[in-house]
């Protein structure tokens, strides 16, 4: 039993078997393609269809009869193969302008599996642009080493560009028109290639045998030069192949080592997160958005790992020619996973950033019993527990005296200002970031900072602490020391790292002034025991010389010498 199709051929109605219909359709399509360059091809097709209809009509006894495959085959044998329709242009061409169509015929981009190193992207592009594939491959290598974008681009092309599977697609790839004769040619080429290879093998054997008497032969120059260039080309090809294999090995090493590192990292983080290894708490501290750590590490794993996996696969493909493809489903899944991880990381980043959107400060102001003419000694008090020898913006974990987990940082800065009050005072400004005003101010209040006053000694903590659940949110402490005029302040040398460098906003002490007694004046300060700065001027020109010996000025008319011996003036006139 067969399904039938109703068709209208040349204005006549036919019942036709489905398989016969498909064959007839394919036949007409290929005729259309082979006539694509002829003038009036529509008219020709209409004539052909009319003739086929006529032939069918002759063969059908009545209207109920169905056209079967046999009839279609018969018609095709009468009408001829598609290439019989093509008028031999060389004989009949009298209008050369129609030839131009050939060069503008559209090519399609396919991956060429026959000449592929990895996936045939390069040779497909080479066909498309009409250049040799080696240039495309070189460009890829440059791109990969240039910015690494080449890898991504290549993978995208690999996924997106279809492979030329059928002969028709392979012909479209090279830009030749698809017709029966070309397909036939292509298939013959394939056989020729095989026979060529066989011939080459036998040739090389016989060539080796011939080599003995080559030098005597009359054709020797031609043959030797030919063999020379052939072998040169072979050598270059072998070198390029070795180079490609080397790159393959390199890619495998890079890809594999990164993947292993990532897997180890993911595994240890994952385990640590589940088992709660203490050292990992520092990670938890930064994670202000409270995004689950396993999610972030998984996202990082995929975001970094997938490109490296493809790199690894690429290397493998270079080394092993017949490597089976991982399949489009796997490729798309990986691509999707990669995009998903990137999105996750972006969201994490935004959450993280939004936690720092507000910076708020909480100010404590306390009076110190320091009057004018008193001398205040300022020192930092370091704790054995809180090692402050790390960078200011960093933070560390410790346990306080009650055994609670706390974080501490050395983000403490000192400023000194003059005041017209009779007593000195100390402002402690605690600031922190937060998603909004409330969280920021709460975090600021939760900063613990202590100082001690003992007679005229001010002991400032070199660190601030806060509970671990406040997380790291740029917690910092700014200390402003307001001193009445005419007090003298002495900063111990261990305060040097904590004194603000810049002298704006009325800040009177520079970090270079530690270990000196400094008198505070109205918006000004004076160092009481700083050594005078050396006055050192040295001028050394042919006319003027100023150094430790004195000043010498010499011109053609006058010579002046000022030194410890006195002033000497010589004049030629």
């Amino acid at each position: 039993m067969n399904k039938t199709v109703n068709i209208n051929l040349g204005g006549i109605f036919f019942h036709i078997d489905e398989d016969a219909y498909l064959k007839l359709q394919g036949y007409l399509e290929s005729i259309k393609r082979s006539l694509a360059n002829s003038q009036g091809s529509d008219e020709i097709i209409a004539d052909i269809e009319a003739r086929i209809a006529e032939l069918f009509n002759e063969r059908l006894k009545n209207n109920k009869q169905v056209i079967r495959l046999r009839e279609v085959d018969e018609i095709i044998s009468i009408m001829g193969q598609p290439e019989d329709y093509v008028v031999d242009e060389e004989i009949f061409e009298d209008d050369p302008s129609t030839n131009q169509n050939k060069s503008t015929r559209s090519k399609k981009l396919f991956r060429d599996p026959d000449n592929s190193y990895i996936s045939g992207v390069s040779s497909g592009l080479a066909h498309y642009f009409g250049i040799d594939a080696i240039w495309v491959r070189l460009a890829w290598i440059l791109l990969v080493f240039g910015a690494g974008t080449g890898v991504l681009l290549y993978i995208l092309l690999w996924i997106l560009v279809p492979e030329a599977k059928t002969t028709a697609e392979k012909i479209m790839m090279t830009g030749e028109p698809v017709n029966i004769s070309n397909i036939e040619k292509k298939i013959k080429d394939g056989f020729d290639n095989v026979s060529q290879v066989a011939k080459n093998v036998s040739d090389s054997v016989s060539k080796a045998a011939k080599n003995v008497d080559l030098k005597k032969g009359t054709n020797s120059i031609k043959s030797t030069s030919k063999t020379f260039f052939d072998s040169l080309a072979d050598a270059v090809m072998i070198l390029l192949k070795i180079f490609a294999k080397f790159i393959g090995i390199l890619l495998i090493i890079i890809g594999a080592s990164t993947l292993i590192a990532l897997i180890v990292g993911l595994f240890s983080i994952g385990v640590a997160d589940i088992v709660h290894i203490p050292g990992l708490d520092s990670l938890d501290l930064v994670n202000v958005g409270n995004t689950p750590i396993w999610l972030v590490s998984l996202a990082i794993f995929f975001a970094v790992g997938i490109p490296f996996f493809f790199l690894f696969y690429l290397g493998l493909k270079i080394l092993i020619n017949n490597l089976k493809s991982i399949g489009n489903i796997a490729k798309f899944t990986l691509l999707g996973l990669w995009i998903l991880s990137i999105i996750t990381l972006v969201i994490f980043g935004i959450r993280q950033a939004s936690e720092h959107a507000f910076e708020e400060s909480y100010i404590e102001k306390n009076e110190l019993f320091i009057k004018a003419n008193d001398t205040l000694m300022v020192k930092m008090s370091h704790s054995d527990k809180f090692n402050s020898s790390f960078s200011r913006d960093d933070f560390k974990l410790a346990h306080d005296d009650n055994g609670n987990k706390i974080m501490y940082s050395s983000d403490v800065r000192i400023m000194v200002k003059s005041t017209s009050d009779t007593l000195a005072s100390l402002s402690i400004i605690k600031s922190a970031n937060g998603r909004n005003y409330e969280t920021a101010i709460a975090r600021a209040k939760n900063i613990n900072y202590h100082y001690e006053v003992n007679n005229n000694n001010l002991m400032l903590d070199a660190f601030l602490t806060t509970d671990i659940k406040n997380k790291y949110n740029d917690q910092e402490v700014d200390i402003i020391l307001y001193l009445p005029e005419n007090t003298v302040v002495y900063f111990s040398s261990n305060t040097e790292d904590f004194i603000r460098h810049n002298t704006h906003e009325g800040h009177l002490i520079s970090d270079k002034n530690t270990n000196h007694f400094i008198r505070i004046m109205d918006n000004n300060s004076k160092c009481l025991d700083c050594p005078d700065e050396d006055f050192n001027v040295e001028v050394d020109t042919p006319e003027v010389k100023i150094d430790s010996n004195g000043i010498k000025v010499e011109s053609e008319e006058v010579k002046i010498n000022i030194s410890s011996k006195g002033i000497e003036i010589k004049s030629d006139q």
Partner: protein, 114 residues
């Protein structure tokens, strides 16, 4: 060089001339032209004729008219135009010269072979 190609080229070379000759005395539709050419073994498959007919028509050597048929769809009846007639005359004389020339050359060769 393949013998089939050479044969096909030879045949195709004279095909235009033959089509015009078929239409010299009376108009005909494609099936009639085809049967004449096929009887003379000038055509193996029918497909070849369609592009040629269109080419000749586009060159104003042929013209056609539609005629109703009793047994099927309307048929295209082809006929020579005035230019077609002149063209045919010229081709005829060329063909005669060519025939002579080929005869002379081939018979000479035969003679020398003997």
């Amino acid at each position: 060089m393949k013998i089939e190609n050479t044969k096909a080229q030879m045949r195709k070379g004279v095909l235009e001339f033959c089509i015009l000759s078929v239409l010299k005395d009376e108009d005909a539709y494609v099936a009639e032209i085809l049967s004449t050419l096929k009887d003379a073994k000038l055509l193996v498959v029918e497909g070849t004729i369609y592009p040629l007919l269109t080419r000749l028509k586009n060159a104003d050597l042929l013209s056609y008219r539609w005629e109703e048929s009793t047994s099927g769809p309307p048929r295209k009846y082809y006929g020579l135009t005035e230019t077609g007639k002149l063209f045919l005359e010229e081709l005829s004389s060329t063909w005669n010269e060519l025939q002579n020339a080929v005869n002379i050359v081939t018979s000479q060769k035969n003679n020398s072979n003997e």
